[in-house]
Amino acid sequence: MCLAVPHKVVEINGKEAITELGGIKKKTRLDLLEDVKVGDFVLVHAGFAIEKLNPEEAREILDAWREIEEHQS
């Protein structure tokens, strides 16, 4: 129901940021988040960052796969 794509924050001016996804830079509002820093990864929906992506959890799918594989073998 809602397209939202991870972007990297490359520049912050107040509540407006420049975010980047693989070579595409655009303006993104940060009003829905607190403490966003340059270098953070955020999930962007309709021009607004709706969440900071948790880097520790970014590998969750890989880990989960490993778990399933171990479980099956």
Binding site: M1, C2, L3, A4, R29, D31, L32, L33, E34, L43, H45, A46, G47, F48, I50, E51, L53, N54, E57, A58, E60, I61, A64, W65, I68, Q72
Partner: protein, 351 residues
């Protein structure tokens, strides 16, 4: 291959799951995942397409406003432009000379209002909890900057009340929960649904790997009768959700009973603007009254949205109802179940 693992899972009984979210529907079709499910597992598509469940009267209100006065500008998300109502689409209204613009973000509508004081800029707002916070922000921003010519026409809806309605019918064995709605609302809401209605819930991301993993988890939970919520999208969904966004929603909107196209009125499932922000409420500013618009009785979208039938089980599907000439809401939106099945062919076989 990853998909093989899912396909080879031994399932003891027939399981009927539902992916609530339209983006899941599209990605499942787009990645061709449906032919990777074990035979006993079916995944029905749910009501999570905001465009599909927005009543036809909303389109008519937008069109009527756009054509009524050349100082009125209707802005909306691109998704809404080609949706037919009883008097055509917003794109038609544009062709007739109405000022209708599609935007990627509500910020464009707000700055249009700010730069053109002589115009009345109306944002026709659709979407669930993921999209509504941006609308709440825009209203607060308009108040803060004293932008008096910006109005929101809210058709925002809430997902959990619709899930509860479907869960209460007792025909489903599990929910694949919407990832980005969960980003805002968190995971606890599903816990209540899971326990109350004995239905496992797995929150899923949108990559093929995410969905395959969530499906494996959902099968496992259903087989073990684990009536709980599992967050398989932890990188983007926190237990408590997005507090700032929730705060904005509570400040600007109130929960109201709301009509879902094809389904009917669901209690406390819509968001209307609170009295404190009434100056920005297009429903008040333009005296908009609710209008009942009958649907084509042959259209089975209501049953599709509730997961009773697959899109191709509707007699109109692919015949009189196709994406270029949609009859019901599920064929209208590109993430509607019928459109997704039509375009991506559901379970295409390649022998």
């Amino acid at each position: 291959m990853l998909g093989e693992k899912l396909k080879n899972i031994k399932v003891k009984r027939h399981l009927r799951f539902m992916e609530v979210c339209g983006t899941h529907t599209v990605n499942i079709c787009r990645f061709g995942l449906r032919n990777l499910f074990p035979e006993e597992v079916e995944l029905r598509s749910g009501p999570g397409c905001p465009v599909c469940v927005t009543p036809a009267s909303a389109i008519k209100i937008g069109i009527d406003l756009a054509l009524k006065n050349d100082k009125f500008v209707i802005t909306t998300y691109g998704d809404m432009m080609k949706v037919p109502g009883p008097n055509g689409t917003l794109a038609d209204a544009k062709a007739k000379g109405g000022k209708v613009f599609s935007v990627y973000s509500i910020t464009e509508a707000l700055s249009l209002a700010e730069k053109n004081e002589d115009l009345k800029v109306i944002f026709l707002a659709v979407g669930f909890e993921t999209t509504a916070p941006a609308s709440a922000w825009a209203i607060k921003e308009a108040k803060l900057k004293n932008i008096k010519n910006f109005f929101l026409l809210s058709f925002h809806k809430l997902v959990p009340p619709a899930m509860e309605l479907l869960a209460s019918e007792g025909t489903l064995d599990g929910f694949l929960c919407p990832g980005h709605v969960s980003t805002i609302i968190g995971t606890e809401v599903y816990k209540n649904i899971a326990r109350k209605y004995k239905i496992p819930c797995v929150i899923s991301g949108f990559e093929a790997e995410d969905i395959i993993f969530a499906m494996i988890k959902l099968i496992e939970m259903a087989e073990n009768e684990a009536y709980d919520v599992f967050n398989a999208y932890k990188r983007a969904v926190k237990k408590e959700g997005n507090k700032v966004a929730q705060g904005l929603l509570n400040e600007v909107f109130e929960e109201v009973d709301s009509e879902w196209r094809g389904i009917g009125v669901i209690p406390k499932s819509g968001l209307d603007i609170k009295e404190e922000y009434a100056d920005f409420d297009a429903k008040i500013a333009f005296n908009i009254e609710k209008e009942d618009i009958p649907e084509n009785p042959a259209c089975k979208c209501g049953e599709v949205l509730k997961g009773y039938i697959y899109p191709y089980e509707c007699p109109l599907f692919g015949k009189s109802c196709i994406p270029e000439h949609p009859i019901g809401p599920c064929m209208i939106s590109s993430e509607g179940s019928c459109a997704a099945y039509y375009r991506y062919g559901g379970r295409l076989k390649d022998d």
